[in-house]
């Protein structure tokens, strides 16, 4: 079963950021459970974890990063989308920078990885925080300008994407589900 973590402060935002993910899991015949960022979560109960994004003005999840520290002991696969990318970046000791990015941009893959096939693709961005630099705990997989658009946690199958793959790059989520 896939754990889908909502980072949305307002339930109405889940229609936008969580529903598309669970619909994709359903389409692929997978089962899932949705939990919220402010809950205490036992990650080891699930085969995979997807931490979804949230509204541009929503930062409440950053007050609950401690709830995600348990991921360090988790042996499954994790996909962090936008807010989820930020949470992964922070728990592995990185510092987010203010990077306002709204709209479709070209992403350049710089390191081959199991989630992408093409060297370049267009993706939909909606964030005001991202990484420009990463410490040795993260491997940079893709760039958008000077922003790290995609990373992997070294030695783990934990991936962070600063864009929203559910919009233009559903294949990335599909490959993650099949990992």
């Amino acid at each position: 079963m896939i754990l889908v973590v909502s980072t949305c402060r307002f339930p109405l935002s889940e229609e936008e950021f969580v529903r598309p993910i669970v619909e994709l899991i359903e389409e692929k015949g997978g089962s899932y459970r949705v939990r919220r960022y402010y809950e205490e979560i036992r990650f080891e109960r699930y085969s995979k974890v997807i931490v979804c994004g949230t509204a541009l003005r929503d930062f409440d999840y950053l007050n609950y990063v401690e709830n995600f520290r348990g991921l360090a002991e988790y042996g499954g696969e994790v996909l962090g989308i936008c807010a989820g990318y930020q949470i992964l970046a922070v728990i592995y000791g990185n510092r987010l920078e203010e990077v306002e990015k709204i709209g479709v941009r070209r992403v350049e893959v710089v390191e081959s990885n199991p989630l992408t096939v093409e060297r370049e693709f267009y993706a939909y961005f909606l964030h005001v925080y991202a990484l420009r630099e990463a410490n040795e705990r993260l491997e940079v997989l893709a760039l958008q300008g000077d922003e790290i658009a995609m990373f992997r946690v070294s030695g783990k199958d934990f991936y962070g994407v600063s864009f929203h793959p559910e919009v233009l790059n559903r294949d990335i989520i599909e490959r993650f589900i099949l990992l």
Binding site: F10, P11, L12, E15, A55, L56, R57, L126
Partner: protein
């Protein structure tokens, strides 16, 4: 949270309104009426009828006009949302955007610049399931514009029903079933939040077979 709903009077903005109503406090509707039909961002036909819908809903309407060009349209959006924030104390905006990243990213940017939250409850919805939800929730929807093959003028004035949904689904390769690309436009005569429904008394159809508009000449509110 008090929000406004970007409201065109069609099925999508009404469904977005209903979803917002269920989870937030809807303080007002916001409508931009394009100066002509060539707007990139907003619906045109019968836009003035939103005043009647606002009355049916009992929700205040903040309305402004909007130039045809992209830049003018965006400036008008900033202006009208500023007014809505001042008049109604809104902290957020709800839109009926479904799949257009062009439309969605502009709404997101405007909201961010104005310090407002942005909610898009229909975002990435399967278009056919969305049409079915509109019907299952008891909306009464009429077609008011067709803008391209294979949708014909004869669709104008017709109610959205399951037969029409089936027809739109079968035309998926030619038109977006939700009409988000401007292939067609709709007007909501009734939905669960309307205290009274709208009855069209006089209308006129103008245009040619695959590019035509239904213009409502007279409409009234009647008991449900």
């Amino acid at each position: 949270m008090r929000v406004c709903v970007l409201y065109s009077g069609g099925k999508d903005s009404n469904l977005a309104l209903l979803k917002a109503w269920e989870k937030l406090e809807v303080a007002c509707l916001v409508t931009l009426i394009p100066e002509s039909e060539n707007s990139y961002l907003f619906h045109y036909p019968n836009a003035r009828l939103v005043e009647l819908q606002s009355e049916a809903l009992g929700i205040p309407l903040v309305v402004d006009s909007c130039p045809d060009d992209e830049e003018g349209g965006l400036k008008a959006l900033y202006r009208v949302l500023r007014r809505a924030a001042e008049m109604c104390g809104i902290e957020g905006v709800v839109t009926g955007a479904i799949r257009s990243t062009y439309q969605a990213s502009r709404f997101q940017k405007v909201c961010w610049d104005l310090g407002l939250w942005c909610f898009n409850p229909l975002w990435l919805r399967d278009e056919v399931s969305l049409l079915r939800e509109v019907l299952s929730r008891g909306f009464e929807v009429v077609f008011t514009r067709v803008a391209g093959y294979p949708l014909r003028k004869s669709l104008l004035g017709r109610r959205l029903d399951y037969e029409v949904v089936g027809m739109l689904e079968s035309l998926k390769q030619y038109v977006n079933p939700s009409g988000e690309g401007g292939e067609y436009e709709t007007f909501v005569l009734d939905m669960p939040l309307f205290k009274r429904r709208i009855q069209i008394l006089e209308y006129e159809v103008v245009g040619v077979d695959y590019d035509a508009t239904l213009i409502v000449r007279r409409a009234v509110l009647v008991e449900k």
